[in-house]
């Protein structure tokens, strides 16, 4: 039981970070559940139908998602704000229906036979992604991304190719979600389209918003809390979903920026007071 909880938490942390990576450049993606689905199925096809090892499946998953992210992302990133939100929702819906209609992967009935994911895999991935994000947070790239989020046009005027950056991050986020999806299918042994409905993408965004969007620790915090919350409310029994919804609405109302809203400056000056013209 605890093992299953830890597993799900691990997946949700990876998914939350996949949205966070995309959000770093100012784009909110409601499609990461779809990328997870793509990863789950592609990895499954590679291991079950083609007989290759898990690593190959995961790699294929990431690459496929990145490619689709590139194809879908490029036109999508020319839209903004609410329109972009809608386009990613549309993407998720298209993928969901698409999966239901491909007989090769079992259509509505789903596909089975995947196995091999262990807790080590999942938390190994969490560790690697965490380290990468830590590196990012302490690199000039973080400043560039912050600048893009502050004022996209001005960042562009300073020489940053904003669209390229947003596209690159979109693909990375998609690849991570797909990777998590690949691990997921090999944990569940059996997957079906209704594991990956549009709602999943929305929940993942919820983790990130709740946890806080301004630094890398917010999303996993949100993921952990929102994965464990239903369990915490278990005593309240069947009213979980209602309490869940009310808690979210209340939290959004009172803590609009998420639970960890502060931003850590990427560089601080550690110098004594002798120099510096104080005028």
């Amino acid at each position: 039981m605890i093992g299953e909880l830890a597993t799900m938490t691990g997946f949700n942390i990876l998914l939350a970070w996949s949205v966070y990576i995309i959000l770093l450049s100012g784009t909110l993606s409601f499609a990461n559940g779809a990328f997870m689905a793509i990863g789950a199925y592609v990895a499954g096809i590679v291991t079950v139908k083609l007989g290759l090892p898990l690593a190959a499946g995961l790699a294929a998953a990431a690459i496929a998602a990145a490619a689709i992210g590139l194809l879908a992302g490029y036109p999508a990133l020319r839209t903004r704000g609410i329109y972009l939100m809608l386009v990613t929702v549309g993407l998720a819906a298209v993928v969901e229906t698409g999966i239901q209609n491909i007989p090769y992967i079992g259509g509505v009935k789903g596909m089975g036979g995947m196995q091999g994911t262990t807790l080590y895999h999942i938390y190994g991935a969490v560790l690697v992604v965490g380290l990468a994000l830590w590196k990012l947070t302490h690199s000039p790239l973080q400043r560039l991304l912050d600048a893009v989020r502050e004022d996209e046009r001005v960042a562009g005027a300073l020489g940053v190719n904003v669209v390229y950056l947003q596209l690159a991050l979109f693909c990375f986020g998609a690849a991570l979600a797909a990777f998590a999806g690949g691990l997921y299918s090999h944990h569940m042994f059996f997957i079906a389209p209704d594991h990956f409905m549009v709602i999943v993408s929305v929940f993942v965004v919820l983790y990130v918003i709740m946890g806080g969007v301004n630094n890398m620790w917010g999303p996993p915090l949100g993921a952990i809390i929102l994965t464990l919350l239903p369990e915490l409310f278990r005593p309240v029994g069947q009213w979980r979903q209602t309490v869940y919804g009310v808690a979210i609405a209340a939290l959004l109302l009172f803590r609009r920026e998420g639970l960890m809203p502060f931003r850590i400056p990427s560089v601080r000056l550690r110098r004594n007071q002798e120099s510096g013209s104080a005028r």
Binding site: K135, S139, R143, N161, L165, V267
Partner: protein, 260 residues
């Protein structure tokens, strides 16, 4: 005769039925500071927006050091060496002063993904940025959030950030707006200091003292057209120009413009 740094060739910009820039031709010569004056709504900022890539051109051409940059993408123009400031100050408010300047580092803006591999607090980068902050007198505020800066410092930060991009051409849009005499004098001094690093400056201003002391040549605009061109003295004494500013000039400074 050396090539002009910037050539604006019969450039037109329309917004629906309104012509913001009406076939303007001008140039910024090597090492020159070109002043642009005119009432609000004359098209001065629109012109800057066109040159810096914020607006697309509806007609005409823009050349930077001989190279056609008409309708080039925003970031391409930035990387070619054109930097600007904004009338309404657009600094990165939630970042510190130091971060604002470091964010403009051309080594990183040009290769964002590669900059992932580098340290964000690299000595060389920090020193470079601090040197610029010292130059603009902001070194003491390095760790302060840009959003909390007093007005004059915020303007200076914007200029520092623009300079951090190592441009050849600097476009300043009313940098002295809202400044008192002391701050304006200081700004003039700062601009003089910058001139060595730059190949050209375009200065939009309402403050005639600034224009007189900084600009080598001045252009007056109104209704999107060039009204007059010459030295500061010539232009500011031109009857057409004075008429455009009629009733709103006091002591070489344009007060509240009824046409604003």
């Amino acid at each position: 005769m050396s090539q002009p740094v910037l050539e604006v060739d019969a450039v037109i910009k329309r917004f629906g039925g309104l012509v913001a820039v009406d076939s303007i031709t001008l140039e910024v010569r090597e090492r020159e500071a070109l002043g642009i004056v005119g009432p609000n709504g004359a098209g001065k900022t629109a012109l800057i927006n066109l040159v810096s890539g914020f607006y697309r051109v509806d007609g005409g051409a823009i050349r930077f050091r001989g190279r056609d940059i008409t309708n080039l993408k925003l970031h391409r123009i930035g990387r070619l060496g054109i930097a600007r400031t904004f009338q309404n100050i657009r600094i990165f408010r939630r970042m510190t002063v130091l971060e604002n300047v470091m964010a403009a580092n051309p080594r990183h803006t040009a290769r964002p993904l590669r900059s992932f591999l580098v340290s964000g607090a690299a000595r060389a980068d920090v020193d470079e940025a601090m040197a610029l902050l010292e130059f603009m007198g902001l070194a003491g505020r390095a760790d302060q959030l840009a959003g909390g800066l007093p007005y004059g410092d915020a303007r200076r930060l914007e200029m520092a950030r623009a300079l951090a991009a190592a441009p050849s051409l600097l476009l300043l849009d009313e940098p002295s707006a809202g400044m008192n005499e002391a701050e304006t004098a200081r700004l003039i001094a700062d601009i003089h200091k910058c001139r060595e690093r730059l190949q050209g400056i375009v200065l939009i201003e309402h403050d005639m003292t600034m224009i007189r002391q900084v600009a080598d040549r001045v252009i007056a605009m109104d209704y999107g057209k060039k009204m007059a061109e010459g030295t500061a003295e010539q232009v500011l004494n031109d009857p057409e120009v004075r008429r455009a500013y009629l009733g709103i000039m006091e002591d070489d400074r344009v007060a509240a413009d009824p046409r604003g």
